[in-house]
Structure formats: structure tokens, C-alpha cells
């Protein structure tokens, strides 16, 4: 391969790129939603059950922590394949965009959960102690103290997770998941169509930038005072 002829960009199949972009956005949006729905409670549970914390359950914490570590240490490509039976059970298919969402969510929950745990640990113990001194029950502490006080950090964690999910979606091509990353691998890498590679990578870059900028803006808006 010698040099790159910009005129090749005209030959790019733009409708296909558009479809792939839509696939990526769908996978990202749906899996981020479910990751937060399941990962946030997981993070809270990890935080409150840790030794010395609000509802210390050292055994439960050890088990949860171990499971989180196992899932985080599995390469995502392996997870895609291992989870095929579960995916079939949950969404009725193990291929395409729908088939990719289950492994994406399963892969991202432990990641996000751990980030949430760390964000919650940064909350001043004194504030929690003060609410205990006022007779707050555990659910009140979680919903009125922990989550509001940690909100900037939680939004930051969701942003990091969203960016990681963009990376994961690239591998969903293995099970026919589609999306921009898949396009880059199939056309750009396997078929030497550099122009497709450039366009998809540029779009991924724009997407990640947009996610980070939006996340940072949200954090700034809800930072206190």
C-alpha cells in the first residue's frame, strides 16, 4: 500500500456508514442505560457492604468483589462468546445489534459498579455520620446523602463507562453486531479499504469527544457552589 488517494473518499458507501453509526449509537445508548440501571445498585451495594462501612457484610462483599474482578478480567471478545446462551435466553437472538447488547451490559456493569464504589468512598465520612446522628435510615442515607453528594463523580463514572462501551462495540462484529468498529475491521483492515478505516475512526473519535464534552459539561453544571 503506497500513499492514500483522497478521491477514494468519494467511493465510500455512505449509507452503510450511516447505518453503522446508527447501530453504534443504539448499542451505546441501550447498553449504557442498562449498565447504569444495574451497575449503580451494584456499586452502592459494594460500598455499603465493604468492611467497616454502613452495612458491613464482609462475606457478601468478598463474593461480589470476586465476581466483579472475574468479569473485568475476561477479555470482551471471550465474554461475547461465553454469553451466547444467556443472550439467546434474554433477547431471543445471539447475533446483530440486539445480540451485542447483553454482553455489552454484562461487560460494563462490573466496570461501572467498581467506579461507583470508588466515587462513593470519596464522600466525607463526617457527612454520613452527621446524617446518622439525625436518625437517618439506610435508604435515606443512600438517596438523600450518598447519591446527591456523589453526583458529579457518578456522572464522571458514567462518561468513562460510555467511552469504554464505544470501544467494546467495535468487537461486537464478531457476532455480527455491526457498528462503526465492525466496519473499520471488516472493510478497513480485512479488505484494505483505508478510506473506510479513516472515516469510521474519525466518526468514533467525534463520538468519544462528544461523550466526554457532554459528560464534563454535566459535571460542571451539578458541581456544588
Amino acid at each position: 500500500m503506497s500513499g492514500f488517494d483522497p478521491s477514494l473518499l468519494l467511493t465510500v458507501d455512505w449509507p452503510e456508514i450511516g447505518g453503522a453509526t446508527l447501530d453504534t449509537l443504539t448499542m451505546l445508548g441501550v447498553s449504557l442505560l442498562f449498565t447504569i440501571v444495574f451497575g449503580l445498585p451494584l456499586g452502592v451495594l459494594l460500598y455499603i457492604s465493604a468492611p467497616g462501612q454502613l452495612r458491613a457484610r464482609p462475606r457478601l462483599y468478598a463474593v461480589l468483589s470476586f465476581l466483579v474482578n472475574v468479569l473485568r478480567s475476561l477479555p470482551f471478545v471471550i465474554l461475547l462468546i461465553v454469553l451466547i446462551p444467556l443472550t439467546l435466553l434474554l433477547v431471543g437472538t445471539s447475533i446483530g445489534v440486539a445480540g451485542a447488547i447483553v454482553p455489552l451490559v454484562v461487560g460494563a456493569i462490573p466496570f461501572f459498579g467498581r467506579l461507583v464504589e470508588n466515587v462513593l468512598r470519596e464522600i466525607d465520612r463526617g457527612v454520613i455520620e452527621a446524617s446518622q446522628s439525625m436518625g437517618a435510615k439506610l435508604p435515606q442515607i443512600v438517596f438523600k446523602v450518598l447519591l446527591p453528594e456523589a453526583m458529579p463523580g457518578l456522572i464522571g463514572a458514567a462518561t468513562v463507562t460510555a467511552v469504554a462501551l464505544v470501544g467494546y462495540t467495535a468487537m461486537s462484529g464478531v457476532i455480527g453486531g455491526g457498528g462503526l468498529g465492525d466496519l473499520a475491521i471488516r472493510y478497513g483492515y480485512q479488505r484494505f479499504q483505508t478510506e473506510v478505516m479513516i472515516v469510521t475512526v474519525a466518526l468514533l473519535l467525534v463520538l468519544v469527544q462528544a461523550l466526554q464534552t457532554a459528560g464534563d459539561a454535566l459535571v460542571r453544571r451539578c458541581r456544588f457552589g
Binding site: E129, S133, A136
Partner: protein, 337 residues
């Protein structure tokens, strides 16, 4: 009001067992301000946390009114805590809420008032602590003293019958400390609210408290009325804590005596005699001339009082007769010959 009996609490630190509280007992009467003083690590912080059971003692009981807190199940304890206010050294306000929101927080926890009633109560409390104009501000926009006022308003929200102050003025400058102490004193009088505070600053005890316990290494080494403890300290720790206030300087007597070689008198004034020319009067009657060595004239809570160490330069009467002569003027005199 509060009866603390035989509280003990141990912590393990690097394999060693450390007694934070060692068989501590104390009694706090309703409506008084009770101070607990000690150096850092004396166990006072653990003690105040045991009063609302943020910290569970290993053994011993805490009884509030008729209710033994140490025997309450968790849910009942949470309920009871709503009416035990607590104020903290570092304020511990919620950054995510405005000033008004912070004061509203304990009302939301209790859940007994309607939203409109909560708003009215918040306004009333902010009025009480002098922050009515700051309702919509964030804690980060306030000074330390203002933050502590929010902390106090929050602690009073659910009409507590007991207020615990954990080094409430230790993070504040002296001027702000005075204004917070004045506020606490007002609240104590206006609401007849019992206050228990811990501090390492004798000034806080002197300005605010009725009774005091002195702690050292997890034990209460001395307790009594603030006047007695200041004027007749018994324990070395108490005397060293008092050193900077000018009261209770038993240890320096020897040094003074060696230096000037005359008999010494320790004169203790409480109340009215502090404000009258007693030394002058006794001097005219007895020919007593003294050399003022050290001492202090001050107020303990609102009682004027003082303590002077003087050297006897001349006297027409025998020294042993002096205590009785001073006693007639209401002044306690000890001859340190």
C-alpha cells in the same frame, strides 16, 4: 437528664488494645451546659459519640431521661436520635444542598411536617441563628462561622432535648468562636436545652459551661462545677490545661517562693468580692502589704471571679489570722508559708 454509667470502649490498633474509654461515669442535669475537656486522644470524642451511640460502647449504659439508649433496638434508636442534635467541628454540611436545604434535611428525615410547615420551620431556624438572608446560598459560599450556624440550625430542627457539640468551635478563629459560644448560650437559655460539649479549649468551658469533666487516657480524672475546677483544680492534667488561663497555678508557688523568699498568699475571689477593693480594705485594717506575683480576674460563665498569688511584704497581724480576716470579706485566703 443524662446518666452515663461505667462506659468502656477499646480499639485495636496494630494488634494492641487501646482503651478509648475506661469506666467513665457522669451525670448531666436537665438544662445545663456540660463540658468535657481533655487533650487530643483523651477519649472525649469517643465519649460524646457514645452519648448518641454513633459509637457503641463495649460495656456500660447511657440513659437519657427515662430511656436507656444502650438497650434500644436500632429502629427505636434512629427515632430517638432525631431529637438529639449534634454539631460537628468540620460542620459536615451537605454540599449538594443550599443552606435552607441543609436545615430542611432533618425535617425530611423525620417526615412529620408538610412541605409548607417545613419551609416555615426552616425560616424560623435561620432567623434564630441569624442567617435568614443566606437561605439560597451553598455551604461553599459561607464563612466557617456561618457554616457552624447552619450546623446549629440543622441540629435544632426537630426540637431536640439534648444538643451534642463535638469541638464545635475548634475550627474557628477566636472572634467567631465567641459569637458561636454566645449563640449556644442564648439557645441554652431560650430553649432550656441541655448541651453537652467536648473541647480542648478551657476558654470554651469558662465562658459556657456549668459543670465540667476532665479526661485523660480514657478516664475522667476530675469533675465538678466549673468554678470549683477552675479555682481549686485537683489533678495535674487539669492544672496544665488551666495554665494558659491564669487559674489554678499551684505548681508555680515553689518557684516564686524560692525567688522572693517571703510567705505567699493565694487569694480566691468569687462573685461580689471580686468587684470590691478587698485587698486595700484588709491592708488598711491589718497593715498587710503585698507584692502581686501572678493571677487573673475574670468571669466564669457570668460569675466574676479571680485568683491572685501575692507575696507578704509586711503585716501587723500573724499570718495564720489572715484567712479569717479575708473570709469576713468573702475572700478565700490560703497561706503558703
Amino acid at each position: 437528664m443524662i446518666e452515663v454509667r461505667n462506659l468502656s470502649k477499646h480499639f485495636s490498633h496494630e494488634g494492641r488494645r487501646i482503651a478509648a474509654l475506661d469506666d467513665v461515669s457522669l451525670h448531666v442535669a436537665a438544662g445545663e451546659i456540660y463540658g468535657i475537656i481533655g487533650r487530643s486522644g483523651a477519649g472525649k470524642s469517643t465519649l460524646i459519640r457514645c452519648l448518641n451511640l454513633l459509637e457503641r460502647p463495649d460495656s456500660g449504659t447511657v440513659t437519657l431521661g427515662e430511656q436507656e439508649l444502650t438497650a434500644l433496638p436500632e429502629a427505636a434508636l434512629q427515632q430517638r436520635r432525631q431529637r438529639i442534635g449534634m454539631v460537628f467541628q468540620h460542620f459536615n454540611l451537605l454540599r449538594s444542598r443550599t443552606v435552607g436545604g441543609n436545615v430542611r434535611f432533618p425535617l425530611e428525615l423525620a417526615g412529620t411536617l408538610s412541605p409548607a410547615q417545613m419551609d416555615a420551620r426552616v425560616d424560623e431556624l435561620l432567623q434564630l441563628v441569624g442567617l435568614a438572608d443566606h437561605k439560597e446560598k451553598r455551604p461553599s459560599q459561607l464563612s466557617g462561622g456561618q457554616k457552624q450556624r447552619v450546623g446549629i440550625a440543622r441540629a435544632l430542627a426537630n426540637h431536640p432535648d439534648l444538643l451534642l457539640c463535638d469541638e464545635a468551635t475548634s475550627a474557628l478563629d477566636p472572634e467567631t468562636t465567641d459569637s458561636i459560644l454566645a449563640l449556644l448560650s442564648d439557645i441554652n437559655r431560650q430553649l432550656n436545652l441541655t448541651i453537652v460539649l467536648i473541647t480542648h479549649d478551657m476558654r470554651v468551658i469558662r465562658q459556657l459551661c456549668d459543670h465540667v469533666s476532665v479526661m485523660d487516657h480514657g478516664k475522667v480524672v476530675e469533675k465538678g462545677s466549673v468554678l470549683d475546677v477552675f479555682l481549686q483544680p485537683q489533678h495535674a492534667v487539669t492544672r496544665s490545661l488551666l495554665a494558659e488561663t491564669g487559674f489554678g497555678q499551684g505548681e508555680r508557688v515553689e518557684a516564686w517562693r524560692a525567688r522572693i523568699g517571703v510567705p505567699l498568699l493565694k487569694l480566691t475571689f468569687v462573685g461580689e468580692p471580686t468587684l470590691s477593693p478587698v485587698l486595700d480594705k484588709v491592708g488598711r485594717e491589718t497593715g498587710l502589704r503585698v507584692n502581686l506575683l501572678s493571677g487573673t480576674l475574670s468571669e466564669i460563665r457570668d460569675t466574676p471571679c479571680g485568683q491572685l498569688l501575692v507575696g507578704v511584704v509586711a503585716s501587723d497581724v500573724e499570718l495564720p489570722a489572715l484567712p479569717e480576716i479575708f473570709a469576713r470579706e468573702g475572700v478565700r485566703c490560703e497561706v503558703l508559708a
